[in-house]
């Protein structure tokens, strides 16, 4: 794994070819081929149930948690086929972080939420952990708000703060890719703006794949956009072009609000 992961200079950091995914007998993804470039923000849009979240969760193999899922196809992440035998899931998920739709802080202190990831990956030194906690919270733009109450419960934070805490928690294990599954859909407009601002700050440093059903959000934060419908990838392109000049009629209908 280590050997393959070092090839981060490659242009396509995520490369998916002919991906099919079934939940039992229901096919949720049909022959998806899609790539993400190093350092870009890739938005996945589409109506509910179109498979965009399922796609996102194949990238760090979180779909494995559902026993009836079956995956076929090639998913290359950082130069390695992650559905190949012998992949270390712990290392994969460390390199490919995931932020959930509903913020899910652990019922622990703010500090322990951030330090949990580094700890399970073997970091024990207090000074090192202190540094990681501060740095991660700063990157998630939360440090100033919580620096005086790091030992307070994370459940006492507001919804928007909790979501930024979850982003900080994902950053604490030094990922290369950040997956975001509708990270702002449960937040008020101000907190949403804050998250979008944060994505802008992280762009370039991390490769971000974000699922959203909010098309304005996709237009604001992403470099490229992929439109999913009924488990198929309909169209993908540079965000500004896809929104102003879609090639496919279905995409046109969706972004102009005719369905979905």
């Amino acid at each position: 794994m280590g050997q393959a992961l070092k090839k981060e200079g490659v242009h396509e950091i995520v490369s998916v070819a002919d991906l099919n995914l079934w939940y039992g007998s229901h096919q949720a993804l049909r022959s998806i081929s899609l790539s993400a470039m190093t350092g870009e923000v890739l938005a996945l849009i589409g109506p509910s149930g179109c498979g965009k979240s399922s796609f996102l969760r194949t990238l760090n193999r979180m779909n494995d948690l559902i026993p009836i899922v079956r995956v076929e196809g090639r998913v290359i992440v950082m130069g390695q086929d992650i559905y190949h035998d012998g992949v270390e899931l712990a290392e994969l998920r460390r390199r490919v972080g995931l932020v959930f739709q509903r913020s899910n802080p652990f019922p622990k202190s703010i500090y322990d939420n951030i330090a949990y990831g580094p700890r399970i990956h073997g970091e024990r030194r207090r000074s090192e952990l202190d540094g990681i906690v501060e740095q991660s919270l700063r990157r998630a733009d939360l440090w100033e708000e919580v620096k005086d109450r790091l030992s307070a419960s994370a459940l006492g934070l507001s919804g928007g703060q909790q979501q930024r805490l979850c982003i900080a928690r994902a950053l604490a294990v030094r990922p290369t890719i950040l997956l975001m599954d509708e990270p702002a859909s449960a937040l008020d407009p101000r907190s949403t703006a804050k998250i979008e601002e944060l994505i802008g700050m992280l762009r370039g440093e991390y490769t971000i794949v974000i699922v959203t059903h909010n098309m304005q959000q996709a237009a604001r934060v992403s470099d490229r956009t992929a439109f999913f419908c009924d488990g198929s990838l309909i169209e993908t392109g540079v965000t500004s072009e896809l929104f102003t000049n879609p090639r496919n009629a279905q995409t046109q209908d969706y972004i102009t609000g005719r369905f979905g």
Binding site: E91, R93, G97, N104, Y116, G117, I120, S153, L155, R169
Partner: protein, 303 residues
Amino acid sequence: MRSTINIAKAMVGPVERDTPPRKMSRRSVGEIIFFVAATVSFLLCMGTLVVMVVDLVQTSAGRLTWQFLSGVSSRLADRAGVLPAIAGTVWVTSIAMVISLPIGIGAAVYLEEFCRRSALSRVLEIAIANLAGVPAIIFGMVGLHLFVRWCGFGRSVLSGGLTMALVVLPLIILVSREAIRSVPRDVREGSLALGASTMQTVWHQVLPAALPGLLTGAILGVCRIIGEAAPLLALGAVTYLTKTPSGLDSPFTTLPIQVFNWISRPQVAFHHNAAGAIVVLLMVLFVLNGAAIVIRARGQRRG
């Protein structure tokens, strides 16, 4: 009594609100009958409890002295005490919990986290639910055969503790599973998404989050053990002891067995002793149940 009145008020409230002010509808008559039936049932339960406690306290009056609590068995009722029974209860309960808690929680973790929703899990679930319903005397006979005879532990406090561990194991597994299941899926996914293994997730996230429920299960288990006499009778616990157990191989008695023994004697004075021992037993159970409620309430507030 005040609480009874409050509950009655709370129950009357909605009836008044729902009833149209002018005429009595059929629905309101039904509701009044239901309300009266429920209240009578409730008062019957409470009444039984009150009568029992009052009777016990009256019967045991004068027996609940320091000498009774610190005394050992005697042929004279007014010299006999419950110290060996209290010590035996503590010994048996401790041994049973030390064994059944880790095994029970471990089994619950296995069932919830590792073999969820498989056919095997369903079969095991039914088996455990059935075990929880098996009469305790059966466990006593298993204990007699397995621990007393086959393992050669004799009629010792160790055999008693091991047998009681069998008795509470199904209960602890059921309650622990419930506690583990109540931990949100989000927490597990959040941990796994950071690269934690299932074991790390269970150890660092699920079990701490389930702790109030696990503790409640443990206390319910303790209460069950403290009140149980049948398995130890089958095991052959002795009832005439002049000293407390000094080691795992010591003979022992427990409070319920002491009560059983004293009640079966012809002399009335011993019956008073039995009432005293029951009051001691009830007080221990009351304190432990109270602790369980406090722990659960605290857990709910935090979650």
